[in-house]
């Protein structure tokens, strides 16, 4: 075997590495001009290159470039296509912003968008410029942009430490690490300071002061080092990537995986940043995890928000995030880490109280003790937590609690006095404990503590010698009182916590119950709109927020399906957020990365078969995020809704399919029916004609005559059938001509019976017409035709017995009945017999009917303003009665 082939087999390029390249081909390429500080010449360098690219024939457009009025930079812009800015009014000032939609519409090959870290005006599509650029890249446009190292998210705390300035506008590290090229624009700190001195670096008035503290040689050197190092790390990564893509063996050992634990404390952000830097240095994948004990979930909105923020920060820095629920925090964390192959764990030093540390090991100690093969990094926090802000309940509930505490203690005093009077109990303090526990359970923690102190005072005042004085005579009484106070407070604390727990439990039970109820309701909702209504009503009830559901029926536009409280339409901005959520299958609007100024937060309703719609929630309080509990409830409702919508759509589809199938069956029946009705007479005629021609000389004269007669009759039958078909189509097309005139029903009955006697010479017809009947408005010929058809049927199906025709007046109506004594019609068929081609039995059943007679009758009668119906059994459990009903004509009755 040739050695070349062998080598290829052994060293196949890593498929993941190749896939990453393939993915990069469709996306636009991002090139970042990285600098250590403002004024190093990023924009200048970028524009120079843009001019060069333009000269090479590349389709370059300037999206946004701030020249700050500098001549050299301004000169570079000449000859380049510059996109107009979008004017935005914000707090009375007009700001010019990058026009995202225009850029997407223009869709150049390459666009230059300066200042990657810029924050957009509030009504923009995305809050941050890097998100705009992300969308441009997604659309396949190459982007050049500029960034100062201090704006990098993971370095924010380091930069703050070095320079003493907190940078507010940050860019996630992912943006930098996912860039195709990073070009470092570098000058020495001395040179930069010189440029600053020469006034070549632009600052706004307000920034000038800050800049003086910022631009020190020490700061600039440190920042320059950060920029150089970050670029070097990137180059390193690229080398590794190149080696992997080209299957060159290299020393890139086993991949490290990093797990960072975040908590609700203030240091979490720093822990996450430290982990991010470590992960970058190790070139490791990393995950941020939040662990909580089931039953002890964070309830405090502030703390929940801190956890959310830390997790979100980690996501921005390129981590994936997890939430775990664990009884044994350290054990379950390590189990998770082992299962997911994490090699290192990063966590902050836990700040448990001294007392707690005395009784049990902290999570850190526990982890270190049990980690074995997993390295544990403990990050000490340098940020002192802001001065302990004790959360006080609202003044109103505090006042209520206080009143409650006072009242309970007063009752306890009265009760104690009474007992003391009659029983001389040695230990009256117990009664006050009851009051404390009562307050804890009824009014909560604060009232309990108040009650404890009040009890302390009251006990001292009323029951400790000397009575009615706060002074205490016996020293042991002081000790007893103090012990009482401690016991009362602890009891109050414990009971108060029990109360809070039970309240939480009740809330959770309520949430579960309402979810259960919702799933019951939603499973009963059959149509899409019903499902949407139930969902909005439920979400409104659960969150107290206004909810809307917008659905996209079959590739159509997203439309508002339901809103509770009712809402007619969404505003333009809201609609575009909804559309974004629908198209990208991610949340948009309030408190998200897309259109955060919209009042609603839209979340996609995702089913296994794609996004079916979006649900929008307008929270009660715009400045507070949804609590974890609310978030969970909302997610559960959305999941259920999506499933229900999916189901409703499937039901729709299956109904549609069933209708099509039914239709198909009907068509087949019609075809077979018509085919039979046309072919039977044709067969008789052809058979008779060919018999006569081929065998005629072998037949007797009477046989020949009979064949000829059959030809004549069958031709008649054929022509009747064709005429019926034509009548039917004429009735259906609405082209039936009725000449409405005054008609005497008696005349029509006589004409029809005369005609039927010719067809059925042996048939017996009994006619009874009530005297002095009114006229009706009808077409005499058509009425006669209807009666003839009915008589014809009565003879055919009546089994040879007499047929009776009866006409009389009923109120304002004139009623004609035709009754036979045949076997009758099944009740279920009474209406169906008026359908086209329906013949009581099988489609090509025996009697020579066409299945058209009755449906033609109905068409004709209705065209004349009457009704026709069937009744069976008619008399003595047999027979069928056809009932014609016409409104009597008013005027001519008297003139008769």
């Amino acid at each position: 075997m040739p050695p070349l082939l062998e080598r290829n087999l052994d060293r196949r390029p890593d498929p993941d590495a190749l896939l990453a390249v393939a993915g990069a081909k469709k996306r636009g390429k991002l090139c970042i001009f990285l600098g250590a500080a403002p004024g190093v010449g990023k924009t200048y360098s970028m524009l120079e290159r843009a001019r060069a690219a333009k000269a090479d024939g590349v389709d370059v457009v300037i999206g946004v470039v701030e020249t700050h009025g500098r001549q050299e930079t301004q000169a570079l812009l000449e000859g380049l296509e510059i996109m107009p800015r979008r004017a935005v009014e914000y707090r009375g000032r007009v700001i010019e912003e990058f026009d995202m939609d225009a850029a997407l519409a223009r869709k150049p090959k390459l666009i230059v968008v300066d200042e990657l870290a810029h924050s957009n005006a509030p009504d923009s599509r995305h809050p941050k410029r890097w998100q705009d650029i992300e969308e441009l890249l997604e659309a396949g446009v190459d982007v050049w942009t500029a960034l100062n190292i201090q704006h990098l998210e993971s370095l924010a705390d380091v930069v703050a430490r070095i320079t003493g300035v907190r940078v507010r506008e940050t860019v996630p590290d992912v943006v930098l690490s996912s860039a195709c090229d990073v070009i470092l624009v570098d000058i020495t700190p001395d040179e930069l300071l010189q440029r600053l001195h020469d006034g070549k670096v632009y600052f706004s008035q307000t920034a000038r002061l800050a800049a003086r503290n910022f631009f020190t040689p020490g700061n600039l050197t440190a920042l320059r080092e950060l920029a150089l190092r970050r670029t070097a790390e990137r180059v390193d990564d690229q080398v590794v990537d190149y080696l992997r893509q080209h299957a060159i063996e290299g020393p890139w050992g086993a991949a490290e995986r990093l797990l960072v634990c975040v908590g609700a404390d203030f240091a979490s952000d720093n822990v996450v940043r430290a982990a991010a830097r470590l992960a970058t240095a190790l070139n490791a994948e990393w995950t941020a995890v939040f662990v909580e004990r089931p039953g002890q979930e964070e309830a405090d909105a502030e703390r929940v928000k801190r956890v959310d923020d830390a997790l979100r920060l980690a996501e921005r820095l390129g981590a994936s995030t997890e939430r775990l629920s664990a009884h044994d925090l350290a054990g379950d964390l390590l189990r998770f880490a082992r299962r997911e192959n994490f090699t290192q764990i990063v966590l902050g030093r836990s700040r448990s109280g001294r007392l707690a540390r005395f009784f049990r090991r902290s999570l850190t100690q526990e982890l270190v003790r049990r980690s074995r093969d997993i390295a544990v990094h403990v990050v000490t926090d340098e940020v002192a937590p802001p001065p302990g802000k004790i959360r006080l309940p609202s003044p109103l509930s505090l006042a209520g609690g206080f009143a409650g505490a006072t009242a309970s203690v007063a009752v306890a005093v009265g009760f104690g006095a009474a007992l003391d009077h009659w029983l001389h109990l040695p230990n009256l303090s117990m009664i006050f404990l009851v009051a404390v526990i009562f307050c804890a359970l009824r009014f909560g923690l604060w009232a309990a503590i108040m009650a404890a102190f009040l009890s302390f005072l009251a006990f001292d005042f009323f029951f400790v010698e000397p009575d009615y004085d706060f002074a205490i005579s016996e020293p042991q009484e002081i000790l007893a009182l103090l012990v009482f106070l401690v016991v009362a407070v602890i009891t109050g604390l414990l009971a108060g916590r029990v109360r809070e727990h039970s309240i939480q439990l009740t809330q959770r039970i309520d949430a579960t119950r309402s979810l259960f109820e919702f799933s019951r309701k939603v499973s009963g909702a059959a149509t899409l709109d019903d499902v949407a209504w139930v969902a909005t009503a439920q979400a409104q009830k659960a969150l107290g927020a206004q909810c809307v559901v917008a659905l996209a029926p079959q590739e159509g536009e997203l439309r508002l399906a339901a809103a509770w409280p009712p809402l007619d339409a969404l505003e333009v901005g809201e609609m575009s957020a909804a559309r974004w959520a629908f198209e990208k299958a991610e949340a948009a609007g309030w408190r998200t990365g897309t259109l955060p100024n919209v009042r609603f937060q839209f979340r996609p309703l995702t089913t296994p078969r794609g996004v079916v719609g979006v649900c929008g929630v307008q929270p009660k309080k715009m400045d507070e995020p949804l609590s974890a509990q609310e978030d969970r409830t909302l997610s559960a409702i959305l999941d259920q809704t999506a499933i229900a919508i999916d189901r409703a759509q499937l039901i729709d589809k299956s109904i549609h399919a069933a209708a099509l199938e039914e239709n198909e069956k009907l068509r087949t029946t019609l075809l077979s029916s018509i085919s039979h009705d046309l072919r039977t007479p044709l067969a008789s005629i052809t058979g008779a004609v060919t018999s006569l021609r081929e065998l005629g000389d072998k037949m007797s004269g009477s046989e020949r005559q009979d064949l000829l007669a059959s030809i004549e009759e069958e031709s008649g039958r054929l022509s009747r059938f064709v005429k019926n078909l034509l009548d039917m189509s004429r009735i259906e097309a609405g082209a039936l001509e009725t000449r409405r005139d005054w008609v005497d029903v008696g005349d029509a009955i006589r004409a029809a019976t005369q005609r039927i006697r010719k067809v059925f010479p042996d048939g017996k017809v009994i006619v009874s017409v009530a005297p002095s009947l009114p006229f009706i408005r009808a077409d005499a010929n058509l009425l006669q035709q209807v009666l003839f058809n009915l008589l014809d049927n009565a003879h055919k199906y009546g089994g040879g017995a007499a047929v009776s025709v009866h006409a009389r007046q009923e109120g304002g109506d004139l009623v004609v009945t035709v009754t036979d004594e045949g076997p009758g019609i099944k009740p279920s068929d009474l209406e169906r017999i008026f359908e086209k081609f329906y013949r009581g039995g099988r489609p090509d059943g025996r009697k020579a009917g066409t299945g058209l007679g009755l449906s033609i009758c109905r068409g004709l009668v209705e065209a004349m303003g009457g009704t026709i119906s069937a009744q069976s059994p008619a008399l003595r459990r047999r027979g069928t009665r056809m009932i014609l009903r016409f409104p009597a004509a008013e005027t001519r009755g008297e003139e008769r």
């Binding site: 077979s672 085919s675 039979h676 072919r679 039977t680 007479p681 044709l682 067969a683 008789s684 005629i685 052809t686 058979g687 008779a688 060919t690 018999s691 081929e694 065998l695 072998k698 037949m699 046989e703 020949r704 009979d706 064949l707 059959s710 009759e713 069958e714 039958r717 039995g841 099988r842 090509d844 059943g845 025996r846 020579a848």
Partner: protein, 230 residues
């Protein structure tokens, strides 16, 4: 004449009205039935030599009549119906009907089918050694085929196919029947075999293979070996 008995099963009185004189003129005795039940009773009690059966009967499906009659009687059944859909035709034939005539029909064609059916019934009883059609002769005992006196070289499968077709002279044989008879039940759906072999057979025995006169195609249903004009 022979006085063979034909049972006509049709609920349309008009059909019987035109068939009766024609059949009588050709020398048949005509029996009639209007429903499937009557037909089965007549087949059992009066042993007709051939049955003409309409598929659309008021009380039961014609195919069920064929199935049930097949249990106790070998009387050949010729189907006569306005149902012109191929699937109906084939299921009726596979159920055991020997042939199929569509309404409307010319009386000559109907008579020819009846004759073929009767001959087939006779042949099943006795042993036929030799079949001749024009200048083609098939010696069933010695498995030799000659055309205009010259031997025709056939592969064993081609011979089996031709012999089977020729035995059913004048009768329509469905794809399934032919495949099962020649290739076995496992191949009853491989109608492409059949097309290939029929093509080869025609090339060997037809005067003009592009315009066959011996092996006739019934589109979508099967093949028919032409009836000797004699």
């Amino acid at each position: 004449m022979s006085g063979e008995r034909v049972l006509v099963v049709d609920d349309e009185a008009e059909i019987l009205r035109c068939l009766r004189p024609a059949l009588t003129a050709c020398g048949y005795d005509v029996l009639s039935a209007e429903t499937g039940r009557e037909a089965l009773r007549a087949i059992a009690a009066r042993a007709p030599d051939v049955v003409l059966l309409d598929l659309g009967l008021p009380d039961m499906d014609g195919k069920d009549v064929i199935n049930q009659a097949g249990v106790f009687s070998k009387t050949p059944i010729v189907v006569l119906s306005a149902r012109d859909r191929e699937a109906e035709k084939i299921t009726a034939l596979d159920a055991g009907a020997v042939d199929y005539v569509e309404k409307p029909f010319a009386i000559g064609e109907l008579m020819a089918r009846l004759r073929a059916a009767l001959r087939h019934a006779l042949r099943d009883g006795g042993k036929v050694d030799r079949i001749e059609h024009g200048d083609l002769a098939i010696d069933l005992a010695r498995r030799i085929v000659t055309k205009a006196g010259a031997p025709v070289k056939l592969t064993p499968k081609e011979y089996d196919l031709l012999a089977h077709l020729a035995r059913g002279e004048g009768r329509l044989l469905t794809h399934r029947q032919l495949l099962t008879a020649v290739w076995g039940p496992a191949h009853s759906d491989d109608s492409q075999y059949l097309r290939v072999f029929i093509g080869q057979l025609r090339a060997k025995i037809e005067d003009d293979p592009a315009n066959p006169r011996l092996i006739l195609t019934e589109l979508g249903a099967g093949y028919r070996f032409a009836e000797a004009s004699a």
